[in-house]
Every structure is written in structure tokens, then in C-alpha cells.
Amino acid sequence: MNGDVVIDVQGLTKSFDGRVVVRDLSMQVKRGQIYGFLGPNGSGKTTTIRMLCGLLTPDSGHGTCLGYDIITQSVLIKRRVGYMTQRFSLWQDLSIRENLEFVARVYGLDKAKERVRTAIERLGLKGREEQLAGNLSGGWKQRLALGACTLPEPELLLLDEPTAGVDPKARREFWTEIHHLAADGLTVLVSTHYMDEAERCHEIAYIAYGRLLAQGTVDEVVAAAHLTTWTVSGEDLNELSEQLEKLPGIDMVAPFGTSLHVSGRDAEKLNRAIEPFRKDKRWRWKPDEATLEDVFIDLMSHAEDNF
């Protein structure tokens, strides 16, 4: 086994009731990396993460997680992986402290009480440890869930949309924490819908309709898309947007605040299409770098929809 590859899976496929949800997915994640997992709703992110930690059995495909087979050795994987579920799934009728102590005992940690106390302090939950988990606000629930899955000192964290519905400050603190953990050698696979979070990852993977469409660093993913992008500013952008969308050579038109992003995969066709509009005095055209979001929206609109 290669000690530096923590997740190494090939050809994972999973279907529910005859509908393929994850199709032929392969990926590698190296130790100490923060790996972002992006994709539209229902694209199979949660399903993939569940397959990695043994909560779902893939229909076909194979691979290892921390060097253990994901199909036959899921018990060993569970001991070393912290999984934070998309939906809060700790016990709402237990207090913060009781939830954490339960986790500590199930993992057979020594000095459970002490560890729980330090975890509570580290999470900034001191003073509320007797509060029932069910009564916490959304952001605090996330914090508790992260505390619970890091408590057993796992080697790999699988975080499923850990910052959905969390305020910007808490989100920033959360990511600082994640980077600290990664610096200590922890590997993190994190799914998210936020572009700024994607840019904080060492590498990202983009999945749509069960297929992995792009993989690599943010720069690599943007470069591989070969998107030529123009930014347009001026008046009557709505009208312009409606006209541009119909033209061949233009793959994506998206409003960005007071300007418009116009992209196409074929630079020549794109330029030809916008030629007549560039003469119009109402608009100012400026060549621009494609953003990650441009790339994702483009990838998504070209991936086949299997709903």
C-alpha cells in the first residue's frame, strides 16, 4: 500500500431502485490533503461518502480507505474515520457532554471524561455542556458534530456539507480549524456548495449526476475547462443576457452583481458571436479569467441530466 494515498477507489457504482446514483467513480486523496467535493444537489456526494466509510455497499467497484478494503474491512475503517453527516444525527435528547462522552466510550478512548472536557473547551462550548443538543442553534449543532467526529482522533475526516447554514464568521473559524487539523497530518474530504470553500481546498473534485467530471487543484480544473470569458458592464444587461443566451458559441451567461459573465469553450466562436454586441455603446467588454463558478455551471449544463 502506498502510505501517502488515504483514499484510493476505482469504479464505484451505486444505484437505488434501478436508478444509477454514482457511476464509475474513481478518486485518490493524499495524506494531509483537504479535498473538496463539489456538485449540484442529488449528484451523489453523500452517497459516495457513505460508500467510503462502509455505510453503503457499492454495487461494483473496489478500493481502499486508509489502506483497508472499503467492502470487507469497514469495521477497521470506522475506527479511524470521523464522519460528519449532512443532517445532524447526534442524539437531540442528550446534552452536549453526554453526546461526546457516548462517542468517547464507543471508541474506547482512555481518559474519556478529560478528553470530553478539553474538546468542549476547544469547541468554545464551555458553559453550555449541559444544554440538550436538540435545543442548539444550527451553527452550534455543526460545531458539536465536528467536535464529536474529531474526538476519537481519526486519520481521515469525511465532512458532508459541514457549513451549510452557518454564518460567515463561524464558517471562517471552521476552515481555520480544518487547516490546523490538516497541517497535523489529518486528511479531510469535505463536500460543499460554496465556491470560496472550494478555493480553500488543496484539491477538488466535481461530480454531477453521479459522474466525476473534473478533478485537481482549482487552477487545474479551471484551466482544463478551456473557458474563454468576457465581463460585460453597462445598462440593460438583462436584455443583453437574453439575446446572448440563444447564440451558438456562447455556453454560459451569468450575472455577477452589476456585470455579466459570458463564456464559451471555443474562443473563436465566442468572439464571433459577441462581435455585433461589442460595437454597441451601451456595453463595455473586458476579457477576463474564468472563475471556478463559471466552470462548474458550465460543467453542469453539459452533463447529462439523469433525473
Binding site: L56, V75, K78, R79, S89, V103, V106, Y107
Partner: protein
């Protein structure tokens, strides 16, 4: 107003239709239960398990034996040869009835001395044995007259006398039977409900995903979930027993520690069965329905409401598969008869076996993934 009610009505109907198992049980269960209990329950007991104690070997003794075998009331299972054997059979509940033919009986009958025919009835269930006592005298007299051609008796005189001995409950008090029965059925109901919801609750609240992602095995989850209720069940049993002794004058003849031990076993069996339902059910409603489906035969076919001996064979076999049937024998045996572990060994083993079966099903059927 009407629009909103009908909106609610349609929504409930759709949800009901989606839960196929619940829907099916609503139709099937009443029908199955009706047929099952309709045919099984018989308030006039027949085929009472009976032993004959032969203190002499005579032709009259043999015709009494065959006479008893010819009636529907008695099922002569054993021919005993000593008092000790008879004691054990009664204590363990193997037989409810013993007919003793004393030494010198045949000679005394022939001489017209009207000897005594001794009958020992297990009166711990007075309903079961009550009507059979009356039938006994007629059956024996008929047999003797037919087989042996004894002189027809003169009006008002008898060939022999029946000497009744009601054991364990000489006054025929029904409470001595009901209280142990209630102990068993109340424990069954409460224990089943405690665990029947334990797994489905985790699934419905979404906490199952957390639990499954942790390194804990199904058997560990099961034991951890059952254990606290063993204590609760034990306290409940204690409460019922104390009330039974002080309010209903139920005697405690046997060893109280043996009763405590076997009660703990019985509690654990029911908790395991409840837990098994919980792993089989898809949601809480299904789990509750399974519990009730299981609870009804526990009341009706266990010998609690109706005498066990009166049920047809197949219903008795169903009864043997229910924990409360065995526990009733244990409680009646220890409280009223002073039975020991050697008398109750089979019942204890049966409970243990049922527990193992339930736990095995629960552990193997426990879904370890979310598939």
C-alpha cells in the same frame, strides 16, 4: 373547513397506502387472530394430562385405566409407581391429575366394602380441573361395570368412594391462579414495548447514521439497549409480587431466589423479542403492531385466560413457543407448589432457548448499512 379536512384525509390515505406492511396487517391480522383463537379456545377443558398411580396390579386397576383412556376428559400420559414420582409430575406441571388405586382396592370392591379411590388434582388452575372431578366417578364406575361384570349396584350404594385432594390451592381460589398469570402477562407487555421501539426510533430520528458510522457491533448495540430494562423489569416484577402476597394472599412456598433468577431470564427473553421486532420493523407503527400481534396469543394461548389442556394440539404447540406459557408454569410451580429447579428445568431451558433464538434473529437481521 371541509376543504381542509378533506386535504388532511387524502394526505393520511396516501401515507397509509405507502406503508404496505401496515396496510396488509390491518386486513390480515384481525382475520388470522379470529380464526386462530376461535378454533383454539375451549373453556371446557378436555384431555387433562393425567397420571395413574398403581399401588396394586389387578384386573380392576387395568380396566379403570382403560376406562379413563376412553373419556375425552383425561389424557393418561403416565403410569406411576411411587409417591415421589407423582410429586415430581405435579410440581413440574407434567400432569394436572393423579388417580391413585390403593393396594387391596380390587378385593375390597369385590367384597362390597366401598373402598376409596384417591384423586389428586392440581388446583392451581381451578378452572381446568373443576369439571373433570365430576366426570371421573362416572367414567370409572362405567368401566368397572362393563368390563368386570360386577353385580349392579343397588340404588344409593356405590362400588367405591372418590376421595378428592386438591393440591396447592385447596380452597380453589382463582386469585392464586390469576396473580401469577398477571405477573407474566404484565411483564410481557411492558418489556416488549420498551425495546420494540428502540431501533426504529434511531432510524426515524436519523441517529442511526451516526451509530452505524461508529465502531460498535450489532450485538453490542443490542445488549446495551436491553440491559437497562432488565433492571426496570425486575423492579416491576417485585412490585407485582409484593402486591400479590400482601393484597391477594398468594403464598410463596418455593425458593424466592430461584423465582428471581427465572424472572430475570423471562424479562430478558421478552426484551430480546421486542428488540427483534424493532430490527424487523420499518417504522414505529409497524413495531407496535408486531408487538400487539405477538401479545394476544400470549394472553389467550398460554394457559392464562383459558386452560392450556383444553386447547387442541396445534394450539398447544403455538403456546409452547410463547415465553409466558413457560413462565406461568414456573411462577405457579414456585409460588404455589414449592417446585425446585429440577422440577422446572425444561421450562427454564425453553426460556433460554427462546432468548437465544430471538437474539440470533435480531443480530443477524440488524441492518449494518443504510442500503
Amino acid at each position: 373547513m371541509f376543504g381542509r379536512v378533506s386535504a388532511m384525509f387524502v394526505k393520511e390515505l396516501l401515507q397509509l397506502q405507502r406503508d404496505r406492511i401496515t396496510f396488509a396487517t390491518m386486513i390480515a391480522i384481525p382475520l388470522i387472530q379470529l380464526l386462530l383463537f376461535g378454533f383454539a379456545i375451549n373453556t371446557e377443558p378436555r384431555n387433562l394430562p393425567t397420571a395413574v398411580l398403581m399401588q396394586e396390579d389387578s384386573d380392576l386397576g387395568r380396566s379403570i385405566l382403560s376406562g379413563l383412556r376412553n373419556t375425552a376428559y383425561f389424557d393418561v400420559r403416565r403410569v406411576a409407581h411411587s409417591e415421589a414420582e407423582v410429586d415430581h409430575m405435579l410440581k413440574s406441571g407434567d400432569v394436572l391429575f393423579v388417580v391413585e388405586i390403593p393396594a387391596g382396592f380390587a378385593r375390597a370392591v369385590r367384597r362390597g366394602e366401598t373402598p376409596a379411590l384417591l384423586v389428586i388434582a392440581d388446583a392451581s388452575d381451578p378452572v381446568a380441573t373443576g369439571s373433570a372431578l365430576g366426570a371421573l366417578e362416572t367414567a370409572v364406575t362405567m368401566a368397572l361395570l362393563r368390563d368386570r361384570g360386577l353385580p349392579a349396584v343397588v340404588e344409593g350404594t356405590k362400588l367405591f368412594e372418590v376421595l378428592q385432594h386438591r393440591r396447592y390451592n385447596p380452597e380453589g381460589s382463582t386469585q392464586l391462579n390469576i396473580v401469577p398469570g398477571l405477573l407474566g402477562t404484565i411483564l410481557t407487555m411492558t418489556m416488549l414495548i420498551f425495546t420494540a421501539l428502540s431501533v426504529t426510533r434511531e432510524i426515524e430520528r436519523g441517529t442511526m447514521e451516526s451509530l452505524l458510522s461508529m465502531p460498535i457491533r450489532p450485538v453490542e448495540i443490542m445488549l446495551g439497549k436491553i440491559a437497562p430494562y432488565v433492571v426496570v423489569g425486575f423492579l416491576q416484577a417485585l412490585l407485582i409480587l409484593v402486591a400479590g402476597v400482601f393484597i391477594f394472599d398468594v403464598p410463596v412456598i418455593g425458593n424466592i431466589w430461584l423465582l428471581a433468577l427465572l424472572t430475570t431470564l423471562f424479562i430478558t427473553v421478552n426484551l430480546s423479542i421486542g428488540y427483534t421486532f424493532s430490527t424487523l420493523a420499518g417504522n414505529q407503527l409497524q413495531a407496535i403492531q408486531m408487538t400487539f400481534m405477538f401479545f394476544l396469543p400470549n394472553i389467550l394461548l398460554s394457559g392464562f385466560m383459558f386452560p392450556f389442556a383444553g386447547m387442541p394440539r396445534w394450539a398447544q404447540w403455538i403456546g409452547e413457543a410463547l415465553p409466558v406459557t413457560h413462565y406461568l408454569r414456573i411462577v405457579r410451580g414456585i409460588l404455589l407448589k414449592g417446585a425446585t429447579l429440577s422440577d422446572l428445568g425444561i421450562e427454564a431451558l425453553a426460556l433460554f432457548g427462546l432468548m437465544l433464538v430471538a437474539m440470533t434473529i435480531a443480530v443477524t437481521r440488524f441492518r449494518q448499512t443504510l442500503d
